[in-house]
Symmetry: C2
Subunit: 383 residues, 2 copies
């Protein structure tokens, strides 16, 4: 069986954990946490970063930092992971769901303006499959309406956006805040894990406090105060040095990992390009301002029946391909709170998307085998 | 320098992490998570347990599960870690602080009844230093007033309470819910980590959902439903299998760890018993219904000046002893919300408590050295 995902080990993970153990510091905010944070700050031009136990937790920090209160509205895509919404719901926000683009599962930027009210507090663009949203459009809208932008960059490590001025920005460095995931399915992983990126200076000192359970422990360790105490709300958002050491071993190999993953992506894409047109199946679109970080290769079936047939048959052939999100505006939890707008493209991607196996150990020969198996299944279905 | 704490490694932590890596499953809720959870359920007679990324997160789950709403009151000791309070503040609760006992930093059970109002929703006893609160008194009060009891058993693994009926209960198995910590300073550690214990059946199925980001993924994996989706609020409370594998290696050695820690505790206690009376310094008291799980050895100085002198001088002698909590009702965050009641014993322990070095690798000869050094400092101070 070819699995959908398989964690990749660079080789130094256990040695770094051993080193953390030997250092006598296994709780959070030690050497490996700082190495990982500095790496992000330097390589991806982020003012300040804080490791978290998950991307969900990073989103919850963002919701606290922007001061979400009961009734504040937050605009997020319906086609996303539940945590994008739940992090704000936990703070009392009303979620306003945006539809997906016609050409891509990411949120349709052209629909956002109409969703803004005087209660809107933030927009949370999700860079689906690591492909940038149109950040010029979103940041301009946010500025015009005094909104915060929180990039959900869970899937978007080492991906970039080129603004209309021609400047190339790492994803996660553009919004006021941004969040990354190191869940096992991500390019860089620590099993579970995440990171909060802070680009707006005003959030830096409070973020440190919220991260450390609402205490001014960070100031204490810098020698700025004598005792640390309870100064704010907060949680235990920081991961252990065991997690950070594992993560650091992965980050050191980001170039090699990204090279291989983009290679896998390109191989899939060239195997399918031009060969699926008659079946109505579409290969991914990447807007000109975005780049491909090799996070995920997906196809969009003609309809749900065709999609389910392909998923079932490819599994019978020993290959695990999977669908992805279900529109959140139609979820059991939210459907009664939704304002009734149809979000047809969120539904379309819920019903039609197929994700193919994607992990470091996948060989190009396996990619060819998966591609051919899928092409054969499609051909069998169409005839 | 003898540190205050040093993480202990049983020897199999890295091998188990390696095994988790080889299994291809590093995100949460895998084999090691189940091993750790079953261990707690069986050894400590808990209906259902869920590993969390911290004790803080387990407390946050508890606050969600009991349905804390804005304005609900929760009674907790002032002398505790901020997370005991913050977990409930995050859900909108009003914290009502209880004083410590005269003979112990734990909450004074006799003061609780007067703190209950028609808005009180829960009592959160903290088993300070692993020493049980009077759970008969607390559970009876809770039953009479229809309150939930959440044991903050952060420090209380493998500790017990003997009820007046003579039955011996593991701490964490008595309240409707309970929380444990595996922070690096705890008897059993995974650097950062925690566990939610559920003793009241009504919370089990919702707890699984909240744990998995508000989705019914657990039901999905048990084959009860075809697709999982957004059904509730929730967060990413579960730790990775990296963390769980590390923890499992520790839990397998709990008997050996507890044996050694109790030995250290007894050695400190016999070194100090009867030798500090003239200085006004007190050794710990353990009520007859409680037991000692070797979590912490502390002394209570006569006053803050004496305490600070001892801490300073013992550090100069190469030994790191430390104070502990500061009364939360006087914190920068809360003091203006406090109802003005004096909580003199919470303040007393804030000002006078001294924690001595305590970790597995500490030899009994080092315990003797630390004890003698402290006795010499006290004698020097008194003369």
């Amino acid at each position: 069986m070819i699995p959908f995902n398989k964690p990749y080990i660079t080789g130094l993970e256990l040695a770094y954990i051993e080193d953390a153990v030997a250092s006598g510091k296994l709780s959070g905010n030690g050497k490996y946490t700082r190495l990982a944070q500095s790496f992000f700050e330097e390589k991806y031009q982020i003012k300040k970063t804080l490791l978290t136990t998950s991307c969900t937790d990073a989103l919850e920090m963002a919701a606290i930092l922007i001061g979400i209160e009961h009734g504040d509205e937050v605009i997020i895509p319906s086609y996303t992971f539940v945590s994008t919404a739940n992090a704000f719901v936990l703070r009392g926000a009303k979620i306003v769901f945006a539809d997906s683009r016609t050409d891509h599962p990411g949120m349709d930027e052209s629909t956002l303006k109409a969703l803004i009210t005087d209660k809107t507090k933030a927009i949370v663009p999700v860079h689906y499959a690591g492909v940038a949203c149109d950040m010029d459009m979103i940041m301009e809208l946010a500025e015009a309406h005094n909104l915060f932008v929180i990039e959900d960059a869970a899937q978007a490590i080492d991906s970039f956006y080129t603004s209309k001025s021609g400047k190339r920005y790492p994803l996660g460095s553009i919004g006021h805040l941004a969040t990354f995931s190191f869940h096992e399915t991500k390019n860089i992983s620590s099993g579970e894990g995440g990171l909060l990126a802070i680009n707006d200076e005003q959030f830096v000192s409070r973020a440190e406090i919220i991260w450390e359970k609402g205490t001014n422990r960070a100031s204490f360790f810098r020698g700025e105060i004598n005792k640390y105490g309870w100064v704010d709300i907060g949680s235990s958002f920081l991961p252990s040095e065991i997690t950070a050491a594992f993560l650091w071993a992965q980050l050191e190999h980001v170039a090699e990992i990204q090279h291989k993953r983009v290679q896998i992506w390109n191989q899939y894409d060239s195997n399918f390009k031009g060969k699926l047109d008659s079946s109505g199946i579409k290969t991914p679109t990447i807007p000109s301002y975005a780049e491909n970080n090799g996070h995920m290769y997906y196809l969009v079936a003609r309809d749900e029946v065709q999609r389910d047939y392909i998923l079932k048959r490819i599994k019978e052939s020993g290959i695990l391909a999977v669908f992805h999100y279900l529109s959140l505006h139609k979820s059991e939890f939210f459907h009664e709170c939704h304002d009734g707008r149809e979000l047809p493209f969120a539904d379309l991607f819920s019903q039609r998307l197929i994700r193919l196996p994607f992990y470091m150990e996948l060989t190009l020969a396996q990619v060819d085998h998966i591609s051919q198996t899928l092409l054969d299944i499609v051909s069998e279905y169409e005839h």
